[in-house]
Symmetry: D2
Subunit: 468 residues, 4 copies
C-alpha cells in the first residue's frame, strides 16, 4: 500500500471510503485491462470522479486533474469489478438455518454480499431467494447505508416451489408445522410457484405481469422442472407469455433450462439469458442446432464452470456412473462447445455462504468448489482457463458479458469512461494465470475504496462454530 492510499484510508469507513474527500483521484502506472477484450494498456491511468470513470488510457496521454489524489499502482493490474451472473445470497436454506435464522435473512443477504465484495465481485445477480430479505439488503446497499456488492434481484424462479417443497428439498418435512412450511415457501415463492404450470397462457400472463411489476430487477422462470429436470415446466406459448411480460416492463428474462428440449423452447420464447446453459443432464451435450440458434439470436448463456480437479475428486468419491458426476462431466464438454460456437458467456457460481458447521461435518469435496461465495468465482475462472478460453475472454465472461446479458452495460461491466468506478487492483497478472485473480490488492466500488479487512461487518452464517 502506498502513501497516498494511507491518507485515503484514514478517511475511510466500513461503508467504503469516499475517496479523496470528493476530489478526483487517479490510479497511475498499473496495467489496465478494461474488460472489453481489448489488449491491456501498460503504464495506464484511470481518473475517477464522483464515483465514475472520468478518463482511462495510457498514463502518458491521459489528462490528470491538478487536484487529483494520485495512487501509484506501478507493477499491478487493474480490472473491472467482477460480476457473478447467478448467486443465491440467501441460499442457506437448510432446515436448521431456516428455523434458527428465520428473522435474520436480511442480515444473511448482506453478509453474502459482503463476502462477495471482499473477493472483488462488485456486482451479483441473485436469481432467487428470501424475497423481502434480499430486497432489504439490496436497497440498503444502494442507499449506501451499508457496504456490499451491488445486487440485482430476480425474486423467484417462476414455476418452482419454495425451500420446503418437494420440488426443492429431500428433507422430510413431517416434523415441521404447516404454519412454518407455508411461511417459508410463501416468502420465497411470492405467488409464482408450481401452480402456474397447471395454467394456460392467459392466466399465467396476469400473474407474471403482477410479479414483474414488483421491485425486482429481472425475471427468471423454470423451463425445465427442478427435480424432474428433464421434464418441461411450461408449454411454448406460456413461455412466450412470460418473456413478453418481462420485456413489457423493460426487464430481462432468463430461463432455468436443463434438458435440451426445454433449452430450445426457451430460445424460441426469446429469453435474454439461458441460466447454467452448460447443464444439460447426465448424458447429452447441447445439440449443435441449439448452439447455432443461440449464437444467431445472441442469447447469453450463464455457465457454471468446474475444474478438472473437482471432477476428479467427485469421480473418486461417487464413481463415474453417478448422476451428479456425469452432470459435471457433461457441463465441461458443453463449456468447450459453447466457446467454440462463439456463444456469449457469463460466469456464474450459483453460490451461497458456506456454513462452517456443514463444512466440518460434510465429506463433500470442498476443494475447488464453485458454489461457495467468495471462493467459487476464482475456481470458476480457473476452470475456464483449463478448457482453453483465452485470458481476455475469461475476463469478459466475468465482467462485460454479464453486464451486456443483463442489459446494464451502459453503467457497469468495463473500465470505460462514464461507467461506475468498480474496479479491482491485482498484485499479479490475471492474463498470465487465472489464479492471479486471487491476488487482490484493492477493491473499489463506485469510486469508494473498500476496507476488505472488516468484511463481513456482521455475520450470521460464516461465524458459526461446530460443536467440539
Amino acid at each position: 500500500m502506498k502513501a497516498g492510499l494511507l491518507v485515503l484510508i484514514a478517511l475511510s469507513s466500513v461503508y467504503g471510503t469516499a475517496m479523496a474527500n470528493g476530489k478526483p483521484f487517479a490510479i497511475l502506472h498499473a496495467t489496465v485491462i478494461d474488460g472489453t477484450g481489448r489488449e491491456p494498456v501498460k503504464d495506464g491511468a484511470i481518473v475517477i470522479r464522483d464515483g465514475k470513470i472520468a478518463s482511462v488510457g495510457s498514463a502518458r496521454t491521459v489528462d490528470i486533474p491538478k487536484d487529483a489524489v494520485i495512487l501509484d499502482e506501478r507493477g499491478r493490474f487493474v480490472v473491472p469489478g467482477l460480476m457473478d451472473a447467478n448467486v443465491h445470497l440467501t441460499g442457506n436454506d437448510d432446515l436448521e438455518s431456516l428455523i434458527r435464522f428465520e428473522h435474520q435473512y436480511d442480515r444473511i443477504a448482506l453478509e453474502a454480499a459482503q463476502v462477495t465484495l471482499k473477493s472483488g465481485v462488485t456486482t451479483v445477480f441473485d436469481t432467487a431467494g428470501a424475497f423481502d430479505a434480499v430486497i432489504t439488503a439490496r436497497d440498503r446497499i444502494n442507499r449506501h447505508e451499508v457496504v456490499g456488492s451491488r445486487i440485482y434481484f430476480g425474486g423467484h424462479i417462476i414455476g418452482f416451489g419454495g425451500p420446503l417443497s418437494s420440488d426443492h428439498t429431500a428433507a422430510p418435512l413431517t416434523s415441521l408445522t404447516r404454519s412454518f412450511i407455508d411461511r417459508v415457501n410463501n416468502r420465497w415463492v411470492q405467488g409464482v410457484g408450481p401452480e402456474l404450470s397447471w395454467m394456460g397462457p392467459d392466466d399465467v400472463r396476469g400473474i407474471v405481469a403482477g410479479f414483474a411489476a414488483r421491485p425486482i430487477d429481472f425475471l427468471k422462470y423454470g423451463a425445465s422442472g427442478h427435480k424432474e429436470e428433464q421434464l418441461i415446466t411450461f408449454s411454448q406459448r406460456v413461455q412466450n407469455v412470460i418473456v413478453e411480460d418481462g420485456h413489457q416492463v423493460g426487464k430481462t428474462v432468463q430461463a432455468h433450462a436443463i434438458s435440451p428440449e426445454s433449452f430450445d423452447m426457451a430460445l424460441n420464447a426469446g429469453v435474454d439469458i439461458v441460466t447454467h446453459c452448460d447443464i444439460t443432464g447426465p448424458d447429452v451435450v447441447i445439440p449443435s442446432d441449439t448452439l447455432r440458434k443461440m449464437r444467431e439470436r445472441g442469447t447469453f448463456c450463464s455457465i457454471l464452470p468446474v475444474t478438472q480437479r473437482l471432477v476428479d475428486s467427485l469421480v473418486a468419491k461417487y464413481g463415474k456412473d453417478n448422476n451428479f458426476v456425469r452432470h459435471n462431466i457433461i457441463s465441461r464438454q458443453n463449456d468447450r462447445n459453447l466457446i467454440a460456437a462463439g456463444v456469449p458467456l457469463m460466469i456464474s457460481t450459483d453460490g451461497w455462504l458456506d456454513n462452517p458447521i456443514e463444512a466440518a461435518e460434510s465429506d463433500y469435496p470442498r476443494m475447488d468448489s464453485r458454489i461457495i461465495l467468495g471462493e467459487g468465482i476464482f475456481n470458476a475462472l480457473v476452470a475456464l482457463e483449463e478448457i482453453g478460453m483465452p485470458p481476455l475472454e475469461i475476463l469478459k465472461t466475468a465482467t462485460l458479458n454479464v453486464a451486456k446479458g443483463y442489459r446494464v452495460d451502459r453503467d457497469i461491466g468495463s473500465l470505460q469512461v462514464g461507467k461506475s468506478a468498480d474496479l479491482v487492483v491485482l498484485e499479479r497478472d490475471p492474463l498470465l494465470a487465472a489464479r492471479n485473480y486471487r491476488t487482490i490488492d484493492l477493491v473499489i466500488k463506485e469510486g469508494n475504496l473498500i476496507d476488505r479487512s472488516v468484511l463481513p461487518t456482521d455475520s450470521v452464517i460464516t461465524s458459526q462454530q461446530p460443536s467440539k
Copy 2:
C-alpha cells in the same frame, strides 16, 4: 334360456361355442339396439353366419335362412359387445404380485380378458402392461386357443418408467435387488422410457419408429408426466415426431395428458385419442378453447366416469381438499362439458383385476369403483347416465365410438352387416336405466356363445384368499 340354446350349449366348450355346427343362426324377437345411435328395433332379428352379422333388422323383414338355428329372445335386448378403451390387463403390479407371479403374467392377462368378457366386454384396449404377457394372451385369444375379450395392445406409455420406477410407485425399492427391478422395468418399458425425454426429435424418432414396428396395435405416449402430472414430458416437436412415427405404420396414436397445456400440445401433435382427457388436475377444467379445438379436429377422448356416490364416499373419507378427491370432482365437470361440446367420447375404466387380499385389507371405497375389471364398466355407464348423457349416446360411448377412435369400426363396434358378431343379450332395457347393462343373459363373441359360468377358466389373481 330357451330350448334352442340348450342344444347349442351342448356343443359348447370353454373356448366358446361354435354355434350351430357351422350353420347360420338367428336371434329373433329381441329389441335390437345397434350401437350406432339409431333408435332400437323392437321385435328385431339378427342373422349370424361364419362369425359375422349376415343381416340385421326387423324380424318381419329380415330373411331368415332355412337352415338357421333360431334363438327366440323375445322380451330381451341385444346390444353390441361392449368395449373398454383403456385397461391394464397386467395392472397387478404391486410388489408382492410382481415377485410372486413374475412368470405368470400371461396367465394374469388372460384371466383379466376373461373377467372382462364375462361382463359383456368383447373388446379391450390395453394401453400399457407386461409386454410379452399381454401379447401372448392376445395372440392365444386371436388364435382361438383360449377364450377372452379381443385385445388390442399399445405396449407401453412412451416416456414413462416401469412399475418399479419412481415414476410409478411410492413403494420403497431399497430391499429389492437391482436385477429384479431392472428385469421388471425392462419388461414393461421396452426401451421407450423416461430417457426419451432427454432427447431431441431426431433421436426420439428413431427409437419410436423401432417400437412402432413391434407387434403392438397402437401407440400411446405421455404428454404429461406421470407423477409430476402438471409437467410436460415432451416438447411439441417431439410429440409431433411420435405421432408421425405411429401414423407412418398405420397405427393410431394417443396421449396421456393431464394438464391443460399438455392436452393442447397433444391436440396440436395430431393425436387420434386423448386418454382420460377428463382428468385435468385438481383445480382447473378443460379450457373452452381446447374443447373447441378437439371437436374441430374430431379427436376422440377416452374418459373415466365416476359416480356421484363414489365421489361422496371419497369426500367422506379424505375430505374435500384432498388432491385425489378434487381430481374426481373436476373430472365429472369435464365430462359434462365434453358432452355439451360434442366431443366424441369413449368409455374407459383404466381397470385391472381386483386382488382379493388387497380388497380385504384396504379401506379404499370399492363401492362403485371404476378400476375393477368386470365391475368398473357398469359403474362407468351409470356415471354417464347420472350426468345426463342420453341413453343411446352412452351405448355409443361404450361401442361404436371406441371402435371409431381406434379405427377398427370396419370390423367391430356396432350391430351392422359384415361386422363381427360380438353382442350381448340383456334381460332388461339398458336405455331405461344404465344399471340394466348388468342384466346379461348371453354374451356372443365372433358368433360364439360364451359360457360365462366357467370364466375365468384359470385364476392367478382373483382366486387368492386373505389369511384369516
Copy 3:
C-alpha cells in the same frame, strides 16, 4: 374479591404480593379442607405469618392476632396448593422449538411453572428436561426473583436418550447437523444416557453417584425401555445400584416402568416411587402380586388418570385395537385396581406447555387432555372421580401423597401448622364435584398472593400464533 383483598392487591407485584406488609393475615369463614384426608372444617380459619401457616382450625377457636389483616372468604373453600408429581417444564422438544428456542429454554421452564401456578399447582416435580434451563428457572423462583410453581427437578431419566435420539423421536434427523443433535442430546442427557445399559453394576455406580451429586432434587431411571417399552433397561443388580446411589445422598429414587416385569424389578430395587405405574402396556394389568408387594413396601405410585370421554374420543379416532388407545384403557383399569389395593397414589400429568401452532394444526383430541400444563391437572382430578375415588382421597392424591412420596411432607402438602402457606381458595366445593377445582378464586404460595391475571409474565411458547 373482598375489600380487604383490594388493599392487598395494591401492594402486590408480579412476583407475588408480600401480604399485608409483613403483618400476619387470616383467611376466615371458608371451609378448610386440609389435604390430610380429615373431614373439612366449616367456618374455618387459617392464620399465616412469615409465609407459613401459623394456625388452622375453626374460626371460633383459632386465635386471630390483633394486627392481622382479615380476608373474609365466607362461602368459599380452602385447599392446599396442588402438586403435580410428574411434569416436563421443557417438554416442548419438537424440532422447530428445539432449534428456534435453543437459547430460551430457561424462559420456557419459567413460563411453564407460571402456567401451572396460575392453575393452583404450587409445586411441580419435573422428572426430565433441558438441564441448565430447569435449574435456572427453579433457582430463580426459589430466590424469589420470579414467581412460579416451586420446582423439584430430577434432571434426566437415567438410561434414556435425549430429545434427538431414536429413543425419543420418530422425527428423521437426516437434515440436522451432528453438532446440533449432540448439543441438544447432551444438554438433556448429562452423561447418564443409554450407554449405561451396556455397563455392569460397578461402572454404573460411579456414573450415577456423580450424577446424584449434581444440583438435582431426586433421581429417576428407566426400568423399562422408552420406545421398546416391554424390554428391560437395567438388570436387577444395576437397578439396585442406582437406587442405592440416590439414597446415599438422601434423594428419593423413582423408576419409569411400563412392563410388569420391569415394575416388579423396580420394586425389588427399593424405589420410592414407580412413575406412571398405571401404564403397563396395551394388554395386561398390574398383576395382583405386584400390587400386594407395592402396598407392603409402601412404594408410592404416580399415576396418569384419563377421563372416559378422552378414551372415547381416542377410540372413535384410532379404533379400539390401536396400541395407544389400549394403553389408556388398561391404565384406567389399573387405577381402579390400585385404589382397591390401597397403594398410595400421586397424581401426575406428564404435561408440558401446549404449543398453539401444534394445537391449531393437530387433530389429536385436546378435549380432556391430561398432558397440557395448566389444564391437565383438572382433567386428571375429574378422571379420578369418575373411577370412584373418594373426594378426600382425590385431594390427598394431588397434595399430601405427592409430598410424602417425594419426602417433602415436612414442609408442604397440607394445611398444617408450620408448613409453607401454599393454598388455593375455590369458589365451589371440590368435594361435591372434582370439576370445582377449576373455580379458583385465589392462589397463595408461601404466604404470597399470586396475581394470576399476569401469568405467564413472559411467553415463549404459549403466545405463538399459527400462520393464517
Copy 4:
C-alpha cells in the same frame, strides 16, 4: 482316489453310498485325529460297520475284519465330521426370497444342509428358521430319503419377532399385505414371539412348555433384545422359567445374549450354552467375573470367529468408529479372553446360503465372510488359528465341544468306538494350518460316502443368476 474307492462309488447314489454293500470297511494308514484333543495317530486305522465306528487306533494294532473293504488313505488325515453350532438353513429371508420362494423353504433348508455337508460339516444346529421347512428337511434327511448334514433344530428364538417384524428387518413393509406379513411371521415365530416379554413367569411358563413339547431338539431364547441389543428381553425369573421348561423335557437351552448384563442373567438362569457369547456390543468386552462364572458352571459358548483380514476390510470400508466394525473388533478380543479363561467353546457361523444375486450387487466384503454356509466354517477355523488357539483345540471346538454343549456327544463329535461314522478325510494336515480343512478328499456320514460332486442335488437359492 484309490481303486477301492472306485468300486464303492459305483454303488453310490446321491443319497450317500451304502459303503461296501453292508460289509464293514476300513480306512487305513491315514493320520487319525479323533477330535478329543488327543495326539494324532499316524498310520491309523478306522473300522466302520453298520454306520458306526467299530474300532479305531493304530493300523498296526487294530483288528481289520476279514471281509472288510479296505480304503488306503496313506498320507491323508482323518478328522471327525465338522459341526456348526449355529446356522440358519432358511436364513434367506430377504423380501424377494420370502415372496418368491414362500412354498420352497423346505427345499432351501435341504439345499443349505447339502451345501454344509459338501464342506465336511456333517452336523448343523439350526437355531431359528421357517419352522415347518426345517423340520421337513431334518426329518427327510434322518429318514435317509435325501442326503444332507444332520440337523438339530431349535425352532425360534423365544421372545423375538419374525423376519417381517421391526425386530428383524429395516425393510419398509408398507407395500406388503398384512396377510403375507402375518403368514411369514407366524411361520417363523410359532407363538413364542415378543408378546412374551410383556408377561410374567407364570404365563411364560405355560407357553414355553407348550413350545418345548413340539418336535424341536433344543431351546433358544433371547436374553438381550435383537435390535435393542443392550436391553434385556426377560427378567431373571422369566429366564429361569424358560430354562426349567426346556430342561424339564430333556432339551438343552441356550440364550442369545449380547450385553454383559444379559449374559450374566443367562448364566444365572442356568443355560447350557450362551450363543455368540463373544459378541458383547461395540465397546465392552466380557467382564472377568462373567468369564469366571462361566468356566465354573461349565457353560458352553458358541462363538463367531472372524479373521483379521475381514476386520481390516470392514475398517477400510466403514471406518473404525462404525458400530458393526467395533462389534467385530470386540468379538476377537473376547475370543482371546475366552480361550485364556478356559471356557469350552463351540464354533459357529450364524450362516445361511449365499444368494448369488445379492453377491453380485452387494459391495459388502465377502472375502473371509463367516456367514456364508459352506465357506464360513473354514474362515472361522482360520480365525481361531490367528488368535492363537492350539490346533487340537480348534478341531475340538468344531467337533466334540459342539456335541458336548448340545449333549449329543454319546453319538457324535469324535472318532470313538460306537459313535456314528461321521468323518472327513483331508489331503493336507489341518494341524499344520487351519486352511487345510479346505483340502477335503472324502466326506463320510453315518458310514456312507457322500458324493460331494452332486451337491446340492437341487437348488433354489444358489443357482440363481443376476440379470446382466
